[in-house]
Symmetry: C2
Subunit: 317 residues, 2 copies
């Protein structure tokens, strides 16, 4: 296995699966996570960072595998009592999960940065790998729809991805700085690869790519930048990526994802089931690797993580 260091860029549940696999084969000195914060929002006065939380719960083994989101062994007494009080209940906050949001809100109100706060919370959960929010500045993903812009969680959770998407905007992105921890990691001479996890390109990866200088920094990266396609056989494994592509009049295919990242990508991992795209993919000039990308078991996650690391090592740099 490589001795260099890797940066994994990740968003929600799909990305966290590969992140977990990578964490099993690379020690904390060799693997750090840059996480989407475009989903972050204030709800009931609490600061909620859904993608950071998903990654933390996944890495600590606290994720709820029944619901596919939130924390395992969860209970809902708070939500029931809040409903009785006439509070907003469209966003489900479990009793245990709530502790993370209350403690984060308290720390940030006390002047701590999201980066520092995330490190402390992750350490409390027993996570050794660095987890860095993409920025300490606020970036808010807006889903543009025929009915007007929607904050991401309103689109995703409250409106259940029903509105037809016409585009995206990342409020605050123009003035947001890339997390210096991420830039510092990318600058290290032993950088061995950057891995875009199979997250939604538009709402999980693009918020990070929208930060000033980010795409350019990846384009001139001195190690391979690879991505794993979140689109398999014309569908998304989870979430609204395929629906969004359809509504944006894009082909729902791994090829469209590749084109989305073409300006900085060196390698692209597509599912074995997408071999009919091979000619099209090869014409892109990006190195293509076929693999089993659907991660049902922990073994699947670890196996795909190995493919990613080996693929990086195989690319000419």
């Amino acid at each position: 296995m490589s001795t260099g260091r890797y940066l994994a860029i990740t968003g929600g549940v799909g990305g966290a699966k590969l992140a977990l696999g990578l964490s099993k084969i690379l020690p904390p000195e060799q693997l750090a996570f840059a996480v989407n914060t475009g989903d972050d929002f204030r709800h009931l006065g609490l600061l909620i960072s859904p993608d950071i939380d998903t990654l933390m719960y996944t890495l600590s083994g606290d994720n709820n595998t029944e619901t596919g989101w939130g924390r395992k062994g969860e209970s809902w007494q708070f939500m029931d009592a809040l409903a009785q009080l006439g509070g907003e209940t469209w966003f489900q906050l479990g009793d245990k999960d709530l502790a993370l949001h209350v403690e984060r809100t308290r720390r940030l109100a006390a002047g701590e940065s999201l980066t520092r706060c995330t490190s402390a919370l992750a350490a409390s959960l027993g996570i050794a790998h660095p987890i860095w929010p993409m920025s300490d500045d606020s970036v808010s993903t807006q889903v543009l729809t025929a009915g007007g812009p929607l904050a991401f969680q309103h689109y995703f959770v409250r409106d259940k991805c029903v509105p037809v998407v016409t585009g995206f905007a990342f409020q605050g992105s123009g003035n947001a700085r890339i997390n210096l921890e991420i830039l510092h990691w990318l600058d290290q001479p032993d950088l061995a690869g950057v891995i875009l996890c199979p997250s939604n390109p538009f709402v999980s990866i693009d918020p990070l790519l929208s930060l000033p200088g980010m795409r350019e920094r990846l384009a001139r990266c001195e190690a391979p930048v690879i991505a794993v396609s979140p689109i398999v056989a014309g569908a998304a494994i989870k979430g609204p990526a395929a629906k969004m592509m359809h509504e944006l009049s894009l082909p729902v295919s791994a090829t469209a994802v590749l084109r989305h990242y073409a300006d900085f990508l060196d390698g692209f991992i597509v599912d074995e089931r997408d071999s009919e795209l091979q000619a099209e993919l090869d014409s892109s000039g990006v190195a293509i690797k076929n693999a089993q990308t659907v991660m049902d078991s922990l073994e699947d996650r670890v196996a795909l993580a190995r493919v990613c690391v080996e693929f990086c090592a195989s690319l000419p740099f």
Copy 2:
């Protein structure tokens, strides 16, 4: 039963017992509650109003009779998760109870007054009697000790009333306005009585009495002002009142409580067990009534409430 209206002034658990009794014999048009907010504090970013919450849970039947505080059917998943995250755990917040604090904090941050917010929350819990915080301005009870001043909840909960008390201060009181709802209620021509519930004189009733003009308003009240002694047979039924009196070199007796309120009090209800104080009490010039003041059952609460109302009616006004 009287057709006039009553104001009950109340603090924590002891006061809430009589408040419940009064609510069973007087309809919402005839009974309102003025509640101590000197205990209110911000904890984990949440605005907590312990005495308002105790009264609301008691009146709605949601109070936890096992613990003597908090909400019934409570669970502690939030606290367990918060402890894991290294958060502050000295103040216990149950999963259900938390909903009240989160919703209150949200409403106040949105610009609602504590009075309006309390009315909305009480209505959600099915409470019809008006519950008014003593003021919408912040008043913070400080317990003065040899080791320095302590915010009330730090003294009461975190330090378990161990520090020796030298006095009290009510921060913000000098500039706080009495809740206009309370003044308006007191101004009504059919006012039939003001009842100080058997709450701690120093930390449950004095914060309200410290508001500019409050003692004077009670002194010139056109209806009887009565109190129920929280000290029975030289001890407090619950809480640190007796310990405080001892540390302040006051006699631990109903007589000392009477003297504390002497400037505005018309009638004083003491427990039957304190009949040996009769001569001393009579010399005060305040009308004295003996009654069973220890309220173990709901019947006890209702019986003492009846005594209060009848006592008011019996006083010459």
